[in-house]
Amino acid sequence: MTEAIETGTAADLVRRPGLTPQDGLVLEIEDLVVQHRRERSRELFTAVDHVSLSIGPGESMGVVGESGSGKTTLAMAATALGAPGTGTIRLLGRDLRSLKRAELRALRPEVQVVFQDPHGSLDPRQSVRSGFKELRALQPRRTDWIDDEDLVGRVRLAPDLLDRYPHQLSGGQAQRVCIARALMMRPRLIVADEPTSGLDVSVQADVLELLREARRTTGASMLFISHDLAVVRSICQRVVVMYRGAVVEQGDAEQVFARPRHDYTRRLLAAMPGSRWRAGR
């Protein structure tokens, strides 16, 4: 394991005004190791290699890194949806490993996950509208729901999509339905895995604004996985760079991108598409 380059530490973060002390962290991961067993050879493969990070209330943390570097595995472990691994994970102050099934279920609405594959994460037998209805039933006592039309409008979808089934939506439309589903629950933590990868720039801008607004108005925190550095830079205060399972650099997003210190971060920046167009702009 190599030491990650740190630009500003988690300790700095909790000392920042407006943030509650250590025990108020929304997500705290210490020394997480997650291994997958390989088919055939049965060897263990380390997908997440001694990762530590923390996210404070209202803070958004970006995760960037090459394909297969362990971003999704990390997010799934952090939300108790995937392989648990070893190390400590505290979600909303609770140690995930000591939680009983029922306690975990009670925590679910507070942590919403937007998965990498939007079509795969929507129930194919359910229209958009009945999917919303089912989510509302999870919190029967809540009365301040926004209505369906308003909800889809916020992700820039037309109301007539409400009665469609997932396979009748375009890729970007399905992605926005997933985002609407996550936001309607008013979670304290949103884990979003490439949530805007299928969206063109104009819709993407609106969706990012919506996520920012959710942070402002409800104080939600975010773990935002994306390979799009410009997007991460525009929405995340802090960023971790993963390479082969390990965090190789982390810190203030502006600083990491302006003055990348790890070689891999530099390579990521150099490979951004559009150099031909930007050059002549």
């Binding site: 390989r38 088919e39 050879s41 493969f45 960037v64 890194g65 090459e66 394909s67 297969g68 570097s69 971003k71 999704t72 595995t73 990498q116 594959d117 939007p118 079509h119 795969g120 009665d163 469609r164 396979h167 009748q168 375009s170 890729g171 970007g172 439309q173 926005r176 490439e194 990868s197 299928g198 969206l199 063109d200 720039v201 104009s202 819709v203 801008a205 390979h227 799009d228 550095l229 410009a230 997007v231 830079r233 525009s234 991108f257 302006a258 990348p260 530099r266 390579r267 990521l268 920046l269 150099a270 490979a271 951004m272 598409p273 559009g274 150099s275 031909r276 167009w277 930007r278 050059a279």
Partner: protein, 274 residues
């Protein structure tokens, strides 16, 4: 295939969908062609009809979607037109397709190795086991997968999103088809891997003179790869021309708006100076 020869022609293609008791217009009078040795980009906002266009060529439209009028010709053969069966399958040797959701290209119950051997055996007459093995490994290496054996032995759910996407691309190109249609095929890739996949496509186009219909919502990516660009809006092709012309001198308002929305990557963090 000689460079410049017409591979794919779409002529006044109109496609509709029935939802409840309504007819929706998904594509309207689309005209487009792809020639051997060129990359045609299809860009446009979410819901503008890009996937519908791509799928119509391989005959894999949803059940409630129909070709209303128009023609699709592939290497001179009429796939869709008056009197043709609309459930054609122009897949395999002549067209390789990469779907927007990799789960559509991959069967969850099959290892990657079997996916590749099935397409190779179906489309390459008399191919032997050793050659299947060699070509499978080689195509994954070309996708910049450095441990092809592990990936070959994996089921799709055991792969990361980007690995699944590269396997889907490998399946589409492994038989050297004349035309490749790629629908948002790099959305799960980090920029370095994306750059290499794009370079690989360019190589296939320049060396083997395949035609590539490259669907993307990413204008910058299209600007790096495509020879020509078609801009779609609300089911219509509103602008088509050489890449530089479309991006530098857009003639329709819609293209200008798309370009204006590209996020700025301001100085100090300029990628090229990093």
């Amino acid at each position: 295939m000689a460079r410049g020869e017409a591979l794919l022609e779409l002529r006044s293609l109109t496609i509709t969908a029935s939802v409840a008791d309504r007819q929706l217009l998904l594509l309207r009078d689309v005209e487009l062609e792809v020639r051997a040795g060129e990359v045609v980009g299809v860009v446009g906002e979410s819901g503008s009809g890009k996937t519908t266009l791509a799928r119509s060529v391989v005959g894999l439209l949803e059940r409630n979607v129909q070709v209303a009028t128009g023609r699709i010709e592939l290497v001179g053969e009429v796939l869709v037109g008056p009197g043709t069966d609309l459930t054609h399958t122009a897949r395999g040797r002549s067209v390789g397709m990469v779907f927007q959701d990799a789960s559509r290209s991959l069967n969850p119950l099959m290892r990657v190795r079997r996916h590749l051997s099935e397409v190779l055996e179906r489309h390459v007459d008399g191919i032997g086991r050793d050659e299947v093995r060699a070509r499978s490994t080689e195509v994954l290496r070309r996708m910049r997968i450095d441990d092809p054996d592990r990936v070959l032995d994996s089921y799709p759910h055991q792969l990361s999103g980007g690995l699944r996407q590269r396997v889907a691309i490998a399946l589409a190109v492994v038989t050297n088809p004349a035309l490749v249609i790629a629908d948002e095929c790099t959305t799960a890739l980090d920029v370095t891997t994306q750059a290499e996949v794009v370079a690989l496509f360019r190589e296939l186009v320049d060396e083997l003179h395949i035609g590539l219909l490259f669907v993307t919502h990413d204008l910058m990516l299209a600007s790096d790869l495509c020879d020509r660009i078609a801009v779609m809006s609300q089911g219509e092709v509103v602008e088509v021309g050489p890449t530089d012309q479309v991006l530098r001198h857009p003639t329709v308002d819609y293209t200008r708006r798309l370009l204006a929305a590209v996020p700025h990557w301001t100085e100090g963090a300029s990628a090229t100076h990093a």
